[in-house]
Symmetry: C2
Subunit: 370 residues, 2 copies
């Protein structure tokens, strides 16, 4: 298994001109494709651009064991076939209780791994979409963490303490996570969708087996965008996007090329009717726009050379997977060609009100050509 | 003109039992009733409960001069006639530029006062609903402030600096307001809808001519209610509701009976379609629920005796108006009788999608009987 941070950067000269970039197929190390009739749309949007996706398990019903993982993985791969036959679904299982694994821990994990799971995802109870069955006491799960450590399964966490004030939840969770890190020094841990300067600092202070994913919305937006003018429900997600200082810390660490901060979109589609209502769901649908938005960010910072590592390098390294260097699914091109993001996607049978993507109706400067 | 804080409290023994309270008609020292076909609904909801309302001028078109004030006041009083013939519309004019007053400052103010204006309302440009024509440079308005000071007109401010991060805007505005206070020591100033611990502290540090209004939403809610679970657009307002520490500071100062903190609802109706959408308007429609909600708050704190001063005393004192002691419009009763707040109000011609009140669909323990 590769040690994060030890692999050289993508050879920059091969990848870039001012109007065109060739990138290896990127990875999305945190993505929701849901279940039911809309899944096919979400998988298409994902697999059109990305070569691999780490598939989140907080579906209804949840993905809890090897049987669930096998079935869900097959469904996703079938849907991806049309747009990208090489797409790889990196599966996760939802960590709730030891009992939910459906058997002895060691056996359950062996089966999960054989079914395609590379990570277990832990949601503290009540902290985000479909997390009512989440974890209340991390200590109860230590036997599971020990087994995951032994088998090289990654522990991914929605790192928020639901008992804290909404803007303080991530920071309040860090000591709890610190206890897990201390107890399982060889367990690979990913703090998902990192959102605060405090968490960036905390991750940087850990060893090479603790990493963080970074979303488009936490990297590029603040609460000013969500609440500073009119209310923008399509920017509402958990953890909340935060203050300018938090965004600045995220941008700095990503631009620094720290190999333990890599891309995971947390692309989380909800039907428009579930977002534009009196009780809106949390999640930004970024899969169709993430790569162009990131290209503009790296370009504006004069660091376009960092994009490939962020979206197609560091994550694979951390998970011990091969980088997708022109192999599976081929390269992907970004061209400097302004396009307008659709105001609404996929409206129709099974998803009547459609889904509103991030940047809906706005112009993006880079466009994906696969 | 009465000096704030010098008038005795309402005689408590007359007002209260565990299941019934008689209050003087309360005042709402900050309220929006809009223009157009829906105005009549909003005035009814207001005048059914309140004896006086300080009417905000950021309508479309705005209330800028004596002619506007006269016309708007007549429209409001006509609408109020049905439910409360004694209702008094305390008028404000919107402060934009000296030129917008439509003539010499002194004359314009004399006319405004004669037309029923008791205050001018200042919105920094871009800070809230219909504030694109707001003020960019307070210094340019010093001749107006001097004339208002001379004529005893109150300066009401939406105290936020639009250039600051959304959660810091009120605190960033305080030094600017401090300069006005220093320059015009005899000008009565109201920092509207105070929302932060910093602003509470700042107001407390000023003399008797600087006061603040407090809304239901800033007194009783935090960002956890707006964003901590699902997104609740009907709690979205400007200034934003803030942190628990901020709410605690507001609750403490209100319960302390400080006479310079009094009720102004900032009740600000928007059509449901303008709230539950992809770009939601700021404002909570609290007029129909404010008094019961406040009664429960004071009751829970064991300070029910403070309610009358907060809603029917300190504001009148500050503005130099008589308290409505059983005279105009008579007393009002609150009975301990649980009722469910309607999910939607006033849907119909002129307001097709209706308006969703604060506490929609929830139970309130106290009910107004007029």
């Amino acid at each position: 298994m590769g040690r994060p941070g030890t692999i050289a950067r993508w050879p920059w000269r091969l990848l870039y001109s001012a109007t065109m970039m060739h990138l290896p197929r990127p990875d999305d190390f945190h993505v929701h494709v849901r279940q039911g009739p809309a899944l096919v749309h979400y998988v298409h949007d994902l697999a059109t651009v990305f070569g691999r996706g780490l598939i989140m398990p907080n579906t209804l019903p949840p993905i809890l064991n090897a049987v669930d993982v096998s079935r869900y993985r097959a469904e996703i791969l079938a849907a991806a076939q049309v747009v990208n036959p090489h797409f790889e679904a990196l599966m996760t299982f939802k960590i709730t209780t030891l009992a939910a694994l459906g058997g002895a821990v060691e056996e359950a994990l062996a089966d999960l791994k054989a079914a395609g799971a590379v990570a277990g995802k832990l949601y503290p109870a009540g902290v985000t979409t479909n997390s009512a069955d989440g974890v209340k006491d991390l200590g109860e799960l230590y036997p599971l963490f020990a087994a995951m450590e032994k088998r090289g399964l990654v522990l991914c966490l929605h790192g928020e303490d639901p008992d804290a004030f909404c803007l303080d939840r991530e920071t309040a969770f860090l000591p709890k996570l610190g206890a897990v890190v201390a107890a399982f020094p060889r367990l690979k841990i990913v703090l998902e969708h990192v959102s605060t300067a405090q968490a960036v600092e905390w991750v940087l202070a850990q060893g090479p087996l603790v990493a963080a994913t970074v979303t488009v919305q936490h990297l590029l937006f603040t609460l000013d965008d969500l609440l500073g003018g009119h209310l923008q429900p399509h920017l509402f997600c958990k953890p909340l996007i935060k203050r300018p200082e938090d965004r600045a810390a995220l941008q700095a660490v990503v631009l620094s090329g720290s190999p333990r901060f890599f891309f995971g979109s947390d692309s989380a589609p909800h039907a428009r009717a579930a977002k534009e209502c009196d009780c809106g769901s949390a999640g930004c649908y970024s899969a169709p726009v993430a790569l162009p938005a990131l290209a503009s960010f790296f370009e504006a910072a004069g660091e376009l050379k960092g994009l490939a590592d962020f979206v197609a390098g560091f994550g694979a390294d951390f998970y011990g997977l091969p980088r997708l260097a022109g192999g599976l699914g081929g390269k992907i091109s970004l061209v400097k060609e302004s396009w307008k993001v659709p105001a609404l996607l996929h409206a129709g049978p099974g998803l009547e009100s459609g889904v509103v993507p991030l940047y809906a109706g706005q112009e993006l400067a880079w466009k994906v050509k696969s």
